[in-house]
């Protein structure tokens, strides 16, 4: 692909959603619902069509020429040797895979939203924000300049904030939006610091021939262009404190965006937004931006084993923690939110151990089945009149047949049996057998995650869909209409088939995504990537993983569907008694943060106010007092009586005349 074609196509992908956002936001309230529905979905449809063209172009390009970087325009130029930011886009396998998911799943979710927001008066605002999100996310994955990437990074946080707080008359939604924004900003700041460090320290490679004295270090490159950063990454040192620090900062940015420990608390609260938002932003795309960031910056992470190891540990830790919490949540969307956190933890683990393609494979399949689960949950929530507590549901499988079947497909895909998750998760964990810090220690944790996933996925399915209805709303539930059903069915088809198609005919070992993405991750200049398990290890890993998933599913089915296994007695034992409470209260993270951060800050603010108030007040009151006194002296002459104004006029004319006459007399 020539740079000009790349620039044109990338520009179109960016332009369509942006135009859609502007049209919906500016003209939507005037032209009405039909226009908004059309403009909002067609813009994404057009972006998806362009993405398909890009995909075909990338597939058809000769090997070694699939990555194209093009400049749209030069945005900021502070002269040679100084900051120079041009709006660059990179089209390669990684960005095109992300774009396919963003616009493809995005399109399905937009179509679904037409039905979901049917009775909401803010539909123009909704589609405007959703289109803005697609634009920002496309900017983020296309960016070939760190500044542009950070702009996209912040813009997705903005659209996430706007959409979480979409129902702004609800206090909880506004608080959740604020929490998400504040957490994201922590990540933004980390990214900006990393960018500054790179900008200052990046030097041309080869910096200095070995065994030779150089006159001095070569000049800093002073660039933030990603291809340049990657080409000269080794000038930051291999395993040096500097590159470790940079990678840890990048990882903190990724953790904030991908809801990883310790910056994860915003994601469950983000479920306050409309369900399509949860599906698109907080499951399929935005929260996986952290995975993308680490995969994109793989030349740096390859050089920083300590940072990569930390990323792997945090990812796996979050996966276990979120899986454990998901076991006892009662809000249908929160259970899925914690499962998202857990699955993204696995992706982060994968990119942490260098299995980038495996992480992106999990991202792709996860986007399908997680969007499916959320949209199906949206149908359920609609059917039971905005009830989200799964204890109030039950027995929905006979009342909402299609949704129930789709949800079952999603749950199986999530738990990793037969459908999507089976392929990507076992593939990813297989890498864990041989790679990562202290391998295979994290792999053992990984199979625990597998059991947990089976447990919570089928606890959710069993409680919400099986058994007898436990409320009037559930008893009277009925199936959603076609516009909300078709996207769910398509996503269910994708979840069921995508894995098989990509990996036909064997369910383990290399797959098409591997082959497609590996050129990106083995490009010259990057270090070693994870060692792929050979066939023997692959089979062993696959069998162990699948067995653990099945154990989890089986236990869940016995407890929550057949009710012939009661965990409460086992959990009543001392030592285990705490577990349910810990899980239900989300390990008390919110309370801990409240005690450690919020309260001290508030106390500090209150203390400062006590000290500052008198000082500042005397100041400001002094200034304003002067103005008040001055003006009150003049206020009395404004009576509103024409007579008075006329008298002033006459008075001043007389004074003026006399003054002129005196002056004339003096001049003589």
């Amino acid at each position: 692909m020539s740079p000009s074609t790349a620039a044109l196509l990338a520009g179109l992908v960016l332009l369509f959603p942006l135009a859609g956002s502007a049209l919906c936001g500016l003209l939507g309230p005037v032209l009405g619902r039909r226009f908004v529905n059309l403009a909002g979905t067609l813009s994404i449809g057009a972006a998806f069509a362009v993405t398909l063209v890009i995909f075909v172009q990338v597939l058809g390009a000769a090997s070694g020429h699939q990555s194209t970087t093009a400049t749209l325009w030069n945005w900021l130029d502070l002269g040679p040797g100084n900051l120079n930011v041009s709006v660059d886009v990179t089209i390669d396998q990684l960005s095109v895979l992300m774009l396919l998911v963003i616009t493809g799943v995005g399109l399905l979710i937009h179509v679904y939203s037409v039905g979901y927001m049917e009775h909401d008066s803010g539909v123009a605002r909704f589609f405007s924000y959703m289109n803005l999100f697609i634009f920002s996310m496309a900017l983020l994955v296309l960016a070939a300049n760190l500044i542009i990437l950070i702009i996209g990074w912040a813009a997705v946080a903005l659209s996430s904030y706007l959409l979480i707080g979409f129902w702004y008359e609800r206090e909880s939604a506004v608080l959740a939006a604020r929490k998400a924004m504040i957490t994201q900003v922590i990540g933004d700041v980390a990214l900006v610091i990393a960018a500054i460090l790179i900008f200052v320290n990046l030097r041309a490679v080869p910096a200095c021939p070995p065994n030779e004295k150089c006159a001095g270090l070569p000049q800093s490159l002073h660039t933030l262009s990603l291809p340049q950063i990657f080409a000269h990454a080794s000038s930051l040192g291999t395993g040096s404190p500097l590159i470790t620090l940079i990678c840890i900062l990048l990882a903190v940015g990724a953790f904030a965006k991908s809801a990883q420990f310790p910056l994860h608390t915003w994601l469950p609260d983000a479920m306050e937004g409309p369900t399509p938002v949860s599906a698109l932003i907080h499951a399929a795309t935005m929260v996986t931006a952290g995975v993308y960031l680490i995969a994109r910056f793989h030349p740096l992470f390859d050089l920083a084993p300590i940072a990569s190891g930390m990323v792997a540990c945090v990812g796996m830790g979050t996966a276990v923690m979120a899986g454990f919490i998901a076991l006892s949540q009662v809000d249908i969307k929160r259970v899925i939110a914690y499962s998202t956190m857990s699955q993204i933890g696995l992706m982060i683990f994968a990119v942490g151990i260098g299995a980038y393609a495996a992480g992106m494979y999990q991202f792709l399949l996860h986007a399908f089945f997680k969007a499916l689960l959320f949209l199906a949950a949206g149908n359920v929530i609609h059917a039971v009149h905005d009830e989200q507590d799964i204890r109030e549901m039950g027995g929905l499988d006979s009342r909402m047949r299609v949704t129930a079947w789709c949800f079952l497909v999603g749950s199986l895909a999530l738990a990793g049996f037969l459908f999507a998750g089976m392929f990507s998760k076992e593939d990813l964990l297989g890498f864990g057998l041989l790679n990562g810090p202290g391998a295979p220690a994290l792999y053992v944790v990984g199979i625990v995650v597998n059991v947990l996933t089976g447990l919570y996925a089928f606890r959710l399915y069993g409680t919400a869909f099986r058994g007898e209805p436990r409320s009037d709303a559930a008893r009277n539930a009925h199936e959603s209409k076609a516009v909300m059903l078709w996207p769910v069915v398509i996503l269910a088809g994708l979840s069921a088939l995508a894995g098989w198609i990509l990996q036909w005919p064997v369910a383990f070992g290399p797959h098409l995504i591997d082959a497609f993405l590996n050129p990106v991750f083995t490009s010259p200049g990057s270090g070693p990537i994870a060692k792929a398990p050979n066939l023997g290890w692959g089979v062993i890993g696959f069998v162990i993983g699948l067995t653990c998933s099945l154990i989890g599913i089986a236990i869940a089915l016995r407890i929550w569907v057949r009710h012939d296994l009661d965990p409460s007695r086992a959990l009543a034992r001392p030592g285990l008694r705490l577990l349910p409470r810990l899980s239900f209260n989300k390990l008390y993270f919110d309370e801990i943060y409240d005690a450690l951060l919020v309260r001290p800050t508030r106390a500090l603010a209150r203390g400062l106010r006590r000290v500052g108030d008198p000082v500042m007040d005397s100041w400001i009151k002094g200034v304003s007092g002067v103005a008040t006194d001055f003006s009150s002296a003049f206020r009395t002459i404004q009576t509103g009586l024409i007579r008075d104004y006329a008298s002033y006029m006459v008075l001043f004319v007389v004074i003026f005349t006399v003054a002129v006459m005196l002056a004339a007399g003096l001049a003589k």
């Binding site: 509103g640 024409i642 007579r643």
Partner: protein
């Protein structure tokens, strides 16, 4: 031709009329009377203009007096229009009563 001796008297008459008008504007409360007083002031100025014109043997003063007459006519149109509006909304015709400019 005006005699030289009469000219100061003419100016004094104009000044007297002007002061009379000004006092009327400031003191009277009936807007119609205020109006008439304004006319009195304008005509006092006209008298002075015409007097000067004759005294200095130039036409400019007379031309200017015509301008003043035209402006005065226009001003009467606007002013009386305002007065009828004030009257028609049921307000008392009293300049002291119309003090909304204070707010």
């Amino acid at each position: 031709m005006l005699s030289q001796a009469m000219f100061p008297w003419l100016l004094l008459t104009a000044a007297f009329l002007f002061t009379l008008g000004a006092l009327g504007v400031l003191i009277r409360r009936n807007p119609l009377v205020v109006f008439m007083c304004i006319e009195l002031m304008l005509n006092a100025v006209n008298l002075a203009l015409v007097g000067y014109s004759s005294y200095l043997n130039s036409e400019e003063g007379q031309v200017f007096a015509f301008m003043v007459i035209v402006v005065a006519a226009a001003e009467v149109v606007v002013g009386l229009g305002l007065l009828t509006r004030v009257f028609s909304i049921g307000r008392e015709l009293d300049v002291d009563d119309l003090d909304e400019m204070k707010q």
